[in-house]
Protein backbone atom coordinates (compact mmCIF):
# COMPACT_ATOMS: atom_id res chain seq x y z
CA UNK A 1 0.00 0.00 0.00
CA UNK A 2 1.54 3.33 -0.96
CA UNK A 3 0.93 6.98 -0.18
CA UNK A 4 -1.34 7.49 -3.21
CA UNK A 5 -3.69 4.75 -2.01
CA UNK A 6 -3.86 6.31 1.45
CA UNK A 7 -4.54 9.66 -0.19
CA UNK A 8 -7.37 8.20 -2.31
CA UNK A 9 -8.93 6.63 0.76
CA UNK A 10 -8.64 9.89 2.68
CA UNK A 11 -10.20 11.91 -0.15
CA UNK A 12 -13.16 9.52 -0.38
CA UNK A 13 -13.78 9.98 3.35
CA UNK A 14 -13.46 13.76 3.12
CA UNK A 15 -15.78 14.02 0.13
CA UNK A 16 -18.53 11.88 1.63
CA UNK A 17 -21.72 13.96 1.19
CA UNK A 18 -23.50 15.33 4.23
CA UNK A 19 -27.31 15.48 4.25
CA UNK A 20 -28.95 18.93 4.55
CA UNK A 21 -30.99 17.76 7.55
CA UNK A 22 -27.82 16.58 9.31
CA UNK A 23 -26.15 19.94 8.72
CA UNK A 24 -29.10 21.80 10.30
CA UNK A 25 -29.06 19.40 13.24
CA UNK A 26 -25.33 19.95 13.72
CA UNK A 27 -25.83 23.71 13.70
CA UNK A 28 -28.54 23.45 16.37
CA UNK A 29 -26.34 21.12 18.47
CA UNK A 30 -23.40 23.52 18.28
CA UNK A 31 -25.55 26.52 19.23
CA UNK A 32 -27.07 24.57 22.13
CA UNK A 33 -23.65 23.51 23.40
CA UNK A 34 -22.18 27.01 23.13
CA UNK A 35 -25.16 28.44 25.02
CA UNK A 36 -24.80 25.73 27.67
CA UNK A 37 -21.11 26.53 28.04
CA UNK A 38 -21.80 30.24 28.48
CA UNK A 39 -24.59 29.54 30.99
CA UNK A 40 -22.40 27.26 33.10
CA UNK A 41 -19.54 29.82 33.07
CA UNK A 42 -22.01 32.50 34.17
CA UNK A 43 -23.40 30.24 36.94
CA UNK A 44 -19.85 29.57 38.20
CA UNK A 45 -19.09 33.31 38.31
CA UNK A 46 -22.31 34.04 40.19
CA UNK A 47 -21.59 31.20 42.66
CA UNK A 48 -18.12 32.57 43.42
CA UNK A 49 -19.42 36.09 43.92
CA UNK A 50 -22.08 34.73 46.29
CA UNK A 51 -19.39 32.84 48.21
CA UNK A 52 -17.41 36.06 48.59
CA UNK A 53 -20.50 37.88 49.81
CA UNK A 54 -21.17 35.08 52.35
CA UNK A 55 -17.60 35.21 53.71
CA UNK A 56 -17.78 38.97 54.13
CA UNK A 57 -21.26 38.70 55.72
CA UNK A 58 -20.04 35.99 58.12
CA UNK A 59 -17.16 38.11 59.40
CA UNK A 60 -19.31 41.24 59.46
CA UNK A 61 -21.89 39.41 61.61
CA UNK A 62 -19.16 38.26 64.00
CA UNK A 63 -17.60 41.69 64.19
CA UNK A 64 -18.81 42.41 67.79
CA UNK A 65 -16.82 39.33 68.89
CA UNK A 66 -13.64 40.24 67.01
CA UNK A 67 -13.72 43.97 67.55
CA UNK A 68 -12.67 43.86 71.21
CA UNK A 69 -9.17 42.92 70.07
CA UNK A 70 -7.16 45.07 67.67
CA UNK A 71 -5.06 42.08 66.55
CA UNK A 72 -8.21 40.04 65.78
CA UNK A 73 -9.79 42.97 63.91
CA UNK A 74 -6.71 43.52 61.75
CA UNK A 75 -6.37 39.77 61.19
CA UNK A 76 -10.00 39.37 60.11
CA UNK A 77 -9.76 42.43 57.85
CA UNK A 78 -6.71 40.86 56.18
CA UNK A 79 -8.51 37.53 55.71
CA UNK A 80 -11.50 39.24 54.07
CA UNK A 81 -9.17 41.34 51.91
CA UNK A 82 -7.22 38.23 50.88
CA UNK A 83 -10.42 36.39 50.01
CA UNK A 84 -11.65 39.28 47.89
CA UNK A 85 -8.28 39.40 46.07
CA UNK A 86 -8.54 35.67 45.33
CA UNK A 87 -12.10 35.98 44.00
CA UNK A 88 -11.27 39.05 41.88
CA UNK A 89 -8.13 37.38 40.48
CA UNK A 90 -10.07 34.24 39.60
CA UNK A 91 -12.89 36.18 37.96
CA UNK A 92 -10.52 38.36 35.94
CA UNK A 93 -8.42 35.39 34.82
CA UNK A 94 -11.61 33.86 33.37
CA UNK A 95 -11.69 36.59 30.76
CA UNK A 96 -8.51 35.86 28.88
CA UNK A 97 -7.96 37.04 25.34
CA UNK A 98 -9.79 34.60 23.07
CA UNK A 99 -7.69 31.65 21.98
CA UNK A 100 -6.20 32.50 18.59
CA UNK A 101 -7.27 29.20 17.07
CA UNK A 102 -7.03 30.64 13.57
CA UNK A 103 -3.30 31.31 13.94
CA UNK A 104 -0.81 28.94 12.32
CA UNK A 105 -0.10 25.76 14.29
CA UNK A 106 3.34 27.09 15.27
CA UNK A 107 2.05 30.50 16.41
CA UNK A 108 -0.85 28.96 18.31
CA UNK A 109 1.42 26.43 20.02
CA UNK A 110 3.84 29.19 21.06
CA UNK A 111 1.01 31.22 22.56
CA UNK A 112 -0.38 28.20 24.39
CA UNK A 113 3.08 27.42 25.73
CA UNK A 114 3.45 30.97 27.03
CA UNK A 115 -0.02 30.71 28.63
CA UNK A 116 0.81 27.38 30.30
CA UNK A 117 4.08 28.85 31.62
CA UNK A 118 2.11 31.73 33.16
CA UNK A 119 -0.36 29.30 34.78
CA UNK A 120 2.46 27.17 36.18
CA UNK A 121 4.27 30.23 37.54
CA UNK A 122 1.06 31.31 39.20
CA UNK A 123 0.61 27.87 40.76
CA UNK A 124 4.16 27.48 42.02
CA UNK A 125 5.09 31.00 43.09
CA UNK A 126 1.92 33.05 42.85
CA UNK A 127 0.69 31.98 46.27
CA UNK A 128 3.11 34.37 47.98
CA UNK A 129 1.12 37.36 46.80
CA UNK A 130 -2.14 35.48 46.28
CA UNK A 131 -2.52 34.07 49.76
CA UNK A 132 -0.22 36.24 51.85
CA UNK A 133 -2.98 38.45 53.34
CA UNK A 134 -4.76 35.37 54.68
CA UNK A 135 -1.54 33.81 56.01
CA UNK A 136 -0.76 36.98 57.96
CA UNK A 137 -4.39 37.57 58.93
CA UNK A 138 -5.04 34.10 60.35
CA UNK A 139 -2.28 34.12 63.05
CA UNK A 140 -3.21 37.68 63.98
CA UNK A 141 -6.88 36.75 64.32
CA UNK A 142 -5.88 33.62 66.26
CA UNK A 143 -3.77 35.70 68.66
CA UNK A 144 -6.59 38.18 69.19
CA UNK A 145 -9.31 35.54 69.61
CA UNK A 146 -7.36 33.39 72.06
CA UNK A 147 -6.70 36.52 74.14
CA UNK A 148 -3.04 35.64 74.62
CA UNK A 149 -3.73 32.05 75.73
CA UNK A 150 -0.52 30.38 74.57
CA UNK A 151 -1.87 26.84 74.29
CA UNK A 152 -4.82 27.82 72.10
CA UNK A 153 -2.63 30.12 70.07
CA UNK A 154 -0.01 27.41 69.43
CA UNK A 155 -2.76 24.94 68.48
CA UNK A 156 -4.34 27.40 66.08
CA UNK A 157 -1.00 28.46 64.65
CA UNK A 158 0.04 24.83 64.09
CA UNK A 159 -3.22 24.18 62.22
CA UNK A 160 -2.67 27.29 60.12
CA UNK A 161 0.92 26.34 59.27
CA UNK A 162 -0.17 22.77 58.42
CA UNK A 163 -2.94 24.09 56.15
CA UNK A 164 -0.47 26.47 54.48
CA UNK A 165 2.08 23.72 53.85
CA UNK A 166 -0.69 21.53 52.41
CA UNK A 167 -1.80 24.41 50.18
CA UNK A 168 1.69 25.03 48.81
CA UNK A 169 2.34 21.32 48.32
CA UNK A 170 -0.98 20.71 46.52
CA UNK A 171 -0.39 23.68 44.15
CA UNK A 172 3.04 22.34 43.25
CA UNK A 173 1.66 18.84 42.79
CA UNK A 174 -0.99 20.14 40.37
CA UNK A 175 1.70 22.03 38.42
CA UNK A 176 3.95 18.97 38.31
CA UNK A 177 1.35 16.31 37.49
CA UNK A 178 -1.22 18.15 35.41
CA UNK A 179 0.60 20.97 33.67
CA UNK A 180 4.15 19.74 33.24
CA UNK A 181 3.35 16.81 30.85
CA UNK A 182 1.18 19.09 28.67
CA UNK A 183 3.91 21.71 28.72
CA UNK A 184 6.60 19.20 27.74
CA UNK A 185 4.57 17.94 24.79
CA UNK A 186 3.80 21.45 23.62
CA UNK A 187 7.46 22.50 23.96
CA UNK A 188 8.41 19.46 21.89
CA UNK A 189 5.90 20.45 19.20
CA UNK A 190 7.13 24.06 19.14
CA UNK A 191 10.73 22.86 18.95
CA UNK A 192 9.87 20.43 16.14
CA UNK A 193 8.06 23.08 14.13
CA UNK A 194 10.52 25.85 14.98
CA UNK A 195 13.57 23.82 13.93
CA UNK A 196 11.83 22.13 11.03
CA UNK A 197 14.00 24.10 8.59
CA UNK A 198 17.21 22.73 10.01
CA UNK A 199 18.55 19.48 8.54
Amino acid sequence: MDFEELQKNWRSEVNRPQGAADVQKLLLDVQRQCNGLERSAHRRDVREILEAVLVVAFFAAGWPIFSHSLAASVGIALIVLGYLIIVLTRLSSRRPEPMPLDASVLQFSRQRLAWIDRQMRLLTTGMWWYATPSFIGLPLAAWGLTAGNRLYFILLLTSIVAASVHYVYSRRKIARNQWQPVRDELAQLVAALGTIDRP
Binding site: D2, V14, V105, D197
Partner: protein, 206 residues
Amino acid sequence: MIGKPSAGAHCRPARMIRISRNNVGVASTNIDEHVALATSRMNDRQSLFLGLLEDNHGRWRAIARSYAGNDTEDLLQEILMQIWRSLDTFRGDSASSTWCYRVALNTAMSWRRSEQSRRQRLPICDDRSVASAPTPARNPDCSELLEWLMAELSAADKAILLLSLDNVSYSEMAEIVGATEGALRVRVHRIKQRLAQLDVGLHDGL
Protein backbone atom coordinates in the same frame (compact mmCIF):
# COMPACT_ATOMS: atom_id res chain seq x y z
CA MET B 1 -30.52 53.18 17.41
CA ILE B 2 -30.40 51.71 20.89
CA GLY B 3 -27.04 51.95 22.60
CA LYS B 4 -25.03 54.94 23.75
CA PRO B 5 -27.16 58.09 23.66
CA SER B 6 -25.94 60.66 21.19
CA ALA B 7 -24.74 64.11 22.28
CA GLY B 8 -27.98 65.55 21.02
CA ALA B 9 -29.97 63.28 23.27
CA HIS B 10 -28.54 65.00 26.36
CA CYS B 11 -29.83 68.34 25.05
CA ARG B 12 -33.42 67.13 24.92
CA PRO B 13 -34.08 65.49 28.30
CA ALA B 14 -37.77 66.36 28.43
CA ARG B 15 -38.49 64.69 25.15
CA MET B 16 -36.51 61.62 26.17
CA ILE B 17 -38.13 61.23 29.58
CA ARG B 18 -41.74 61.92 28.68
CA ILE B 19 -43.11 58.69 27.21
CA SER B 20 -45.72 59.92 24.82
CA ARG B 21 -47.48 57.69 22.33
CA ASN B 22 -45.13 59.10 19.69
CA ASN B 23 -41.96 58.33 21.69
CA VAL B 24 -43.05 54.79 22.28
CA GLY B 25 -43.45 54.50 18.53
CA VAL B 26 -39.91 55.88 17.94
CA ALA B 27 -38.40 53.59 20.58
CA SER B 28 -40.27 50.64 19.15
CA THR B 29 -38.90 51.41 15.66
CA ASN B 30 -35.37 51.60 17.09
CA ILE B 31 -35.77 48.30 18.87
CA ASP B 32 -37.11 46.75 15.67
CA GLU B 33 -34.02 48.00 13.80
CA HIS B 34 -31.76 46.66 16.53
CA VAL B 35 -33.48 43.27 16.51
CA ALA B 36 -33.41 43.21 12.71
CA LEU B 37 -29.67 43.98 12.69
CA ALA B 38 -28.96 41.35 15.35
CA THR B 39 -31.10 38.81 13.50
CA SER B 40 -29.38 39.61 10.23
CA ARG B 41 -25.95 39.22 11.90
CA MET B 42 -27.04 35.92 13.42
CA ASN B 43 -28.35 34.78 10.04
CA ASP B 44 -25.05 35.80 8.39
CA ARG B 45 -23.17 33.86 11.03
CA GLN B 46 -25.41 30.85 10.58
CA SER B 47 -25.14 30.87 6.80
CA LEU B 48 -21.35 31.27 6.99
CA PHE B 49 -21.18 28.35 9.43
CA LEU B 50 -23.49 26.20 7.29
CA GLY B 51 -21.41 26.97 4.19
CA LEU B 52 -18.19 25.99 5.95
CA LEU B 53 -19.88 22.92 7.40
CA GLU B 54 -21.09 21.70 4.02
CA ASP B 55 -17.63 22.12 2.49
CA ASN B 56 -15.58 20.80 5.38
CA HIS B 57 -17.63 18.40 7.47
CA GLY B 58 -16.00 15.30 5.99
CA ARG B 59 -12.57 16.83 6.46
CA TRP B 60 -13.22 17.75 10.09
CA ARG B 61 -14.56 14.28 10.79
CA ALA B 62 -11.48 12.69 9.23
CA ILE B 63 -9.19 14.96 11.28
CA ALA B 64 -11.16 14.12 14.43
CA ARG B 65 -10.91 10.40 13.70
CA SER B 66 -7.16 10.65 13.14
CA TYR B 67 -6.57 12.43 16.45
CA ALA B 68 -9.24 10.89 18.66
CA GLY B 69 -9.81 7.33 17.42
CA ASN B 70 -12.82 6.02 19.34
CA ASP B 71 -13.64 9.49 20.66
CA THR B 72 -14.15 10.92 17.16
CA GLU B 73 -17.62 12.29 17.93
CA ASP B 74 -16.39 14.16 21.03
CA LEU B 75 -13.55 15.81 19.14
CA LEU B 76 -15.78 16.58 16.15
CA GLN B 77 -18.22 18.36 18.47
CA GLU B 78 -15.33 20.33 19.97
CA ILE B 79 -14.06 21.33 16.50
CA LEU B 80 -17.55 22.45 15.42
CA MET B 81 -17.94 24.44 18.61
CA GLN B 82 -14.59 26.17 18.20
CA ILE B 83 -15.35 26.93 14.54
CA TRP B 84 -18.65 28.53 15.61
CA ARG B 85 -17.01 30.52 18.41
CA SER B 86 -14.12 31.65 16.17
CA LEU B 87 -16.33 32.84 13.31
CA ASP B 88 -15.87 36.46 14.40
CA THR B 89 -12.15 36.18 13.61
CA PHE B 90 -12.90 34.97 10.07
CA ARG B 91 -12.07 38.07 8.08
CA GLY B 92 -11.31 36.52 4.73
CA ASP B 93 -7.59 37.47 4.97
CA SER B 94 -6.72 33.89 4.11
CA ALA B 95 -8.62 31.26 2.15
CA SER B 96 -11.53 29.73 4.05
CA SER B 97 -9.90 26.31 3.75
CA THR B 98 -6.70 27.64 5.43
CA TRP B 99 -8.73 29.20 8.23
CA CYS B 100 -10.75 25.99 8.71
CA TYR B 101 -7.64 23.81 8.76
CA ARG B 102 -5.95 26.06 11.30
CA VAL B 103 -8.90 26.05 13.71
CA ALA B 104 -9.51 22.31 13.27
CA LEU B 105 -5.87 21.27 13.70
CA ASN B 106 -5.23 23.59 16.65
CA THR B 107 -8.40 22.35 18.34
CA ALA B 108 -7.58 18.70 17.65
CA MET B 109 -4.04 19.01 18.98
CA SER B 110 -5.16 20.87 22.11
CA TRP B 111 -7.97 18.37 22.69
CA ARG B 112 -5.57 15.45 22.40
CA ARG B 113 -3.10 17.01 24.83
CA SER B 114 -5.75 17.72 27.45
CA GLU B 115 -7.34 14.29 26.93
CA GLN B 116 -3.99 12.56 27.46
CA SER B 117 -3.38 14.63 30.57
CA ARG B 118 -6.88 13.80 31.88
CA ARG B 119 -6.43 10.07 31.25
CA GLN B 120 -3.05 10.08 33.02
CA ARG B 121 -4.77 11.47 36.10
CA LEU B 122 -7.45 8.77 36.09
CA PRO B 123 -6.66 5.95 38.52
CA ILE B 124 -8.00 3.31 36.10
CA CYS B 125 -7.68 3.94 32.39
CA ASP B 126 -10.41 2.61 30.17
CA ASP B 127 -9.53 0.74 27.01
CA ARG B 128 -10.37 3.64 24.73
CA SER B 129 -7.03 5.31 25.19
CA VAL B 130 -6.26 7.90 22.55
CA ALA B 131 -2.56 7.47 23.11
CA SER B 132 -2.26 3.77 22.46
CA ALA B 133 -1.25 2.51 19.04
CA PRO B 134 -3.63 0.05 17.41
CA THR B 135 -2.54 -3.54 17.02
CA PRO B 136 -1.34 -3.94 13.45
CA ALA B 137 -2.86 -6.64 11.28
CA ARG B 138 -0.92 -8.74 8.75
CA ASN B 139 -2.67 -7.09 5.78
CA PRO B 140 -4.05 -3.86 7.14
CA ASP B 141 -6.57 -1.78 5.23
CA CYS B 142 -6.01 1.92 4.56
CA SER B 143 -7.68 3.09 7.77
CA GLU B 144 -5.69 0.69 9.96
CA LEU B 145 -2.42 1.61 8.31
CA LEU B 146 -3.17 5.30 8.68
CA GLU B 147 -4.12 4.81 12.32
CA TRP B 148 -0.86 3.02 13.00
CA LEU B 149 1.19 5.57 11.10
CA MET B 150 -0.51 8.38 13.05
CA ALA B 151 0.37 6.69 16.34
CA GLU B 152 4.01 6.49 15.21
CA LEU B 153 4.36 10.14 14.23
CA SER B 154 5.03 13.23 16.31
CA ALA B 155 2.26 15.83 16.72
CA ALA B 156 3.88 18.09 14.10
CA ASP B 157 4.27 15.29 11.56
CA LYS B 158 0.68 14.15 12.12
CA ALA B 159 -0.61 17.56 11.05
CA ILE B 160 1.69 17.58 8.02
CA LEU B 161 0.60 14.07 7.02
CA LEU B 162 -3.11 14.98 7.17
CA LEU B 163 -2.54 18.06 5.04
CA SER B 164 -0.55 16.16 2.43
CA LEU B 165 -3.17 13.39 2.32
CA ASP B 166 -5.73 16.08 1.51
CA ASN B 167 -3.53 17.29 -1.35
CA VAL B 168 -3.06 20.73 0.20
CA SER B 169 -0.46 22.73 -1.73
CA TYR B 170 2.88 23.34 -0.03
CA SER B 171 2.28 27.10 0.04
CA GLU B 172 -1.06 26.65 1.85
CA MET B 173 0.48 24.02 4.10
CA ALA B 174 3.19 26.54 5.05
CA GLU B 175 0.49 29.09 5.93
CA ILE B 176 -1.39 26.56 8.05
CA VAL B 177 1.59 25.08 9.90
CA GLY B 178 3.85 28.13 10.06
CA ALA B 179 6.95 26.50 8.52
CA THR B 180 8.65 27.06 5.18
CA GLU B 181 7.65 25.20 2.00
CA GLY B 182 11.10 23.64 1.54
CA ALA B 183 11.10 22.26 5.06
CA LEU B 184 7.62 20.83 4.60
CA ARG B 185 8.66 19.08 1.37
CA VAL B 186 11.51 17.38 3.24
CA ARG B 187 9.16 16.43 6.07
CA VAL B 188 6.54 14.94 3.74
CA HIS B 189 9.28 12.96 1.98
CA ARG B 190 10.40 11.51 5.32
CA ILE B 191 6.83 10.62 6.28
CA LYS B 192 6.40 8.78 2.96
CA GLN B 193 9.63 6.89 3.63
CA ARG B 194 8.32 5.94 7.08
CA LEU B 195 5.07 4.72 5.53
CA ALA B 196 6.98 2.57 3.04
CA GLN B 197 9.07 1.06 5.87
CA LEU B 198 5.95 0.37 7.87
CA ASP B 199 4.24 -1.29 4.91
CA VAL B 200 7.24 -3.51 4.20
CA GLY B 201 7.51 -4.37 7.89
CA LEU B 202 3.87 -5.41 8.06
CA HIS B 203 4.10 -7.62 4.99
CA ASP B 204 7.28 -9.23 6.34
CA GLY B 205 5.45 -10.09 9.56
CA LEU B 206 7.04 -7.21 11.46
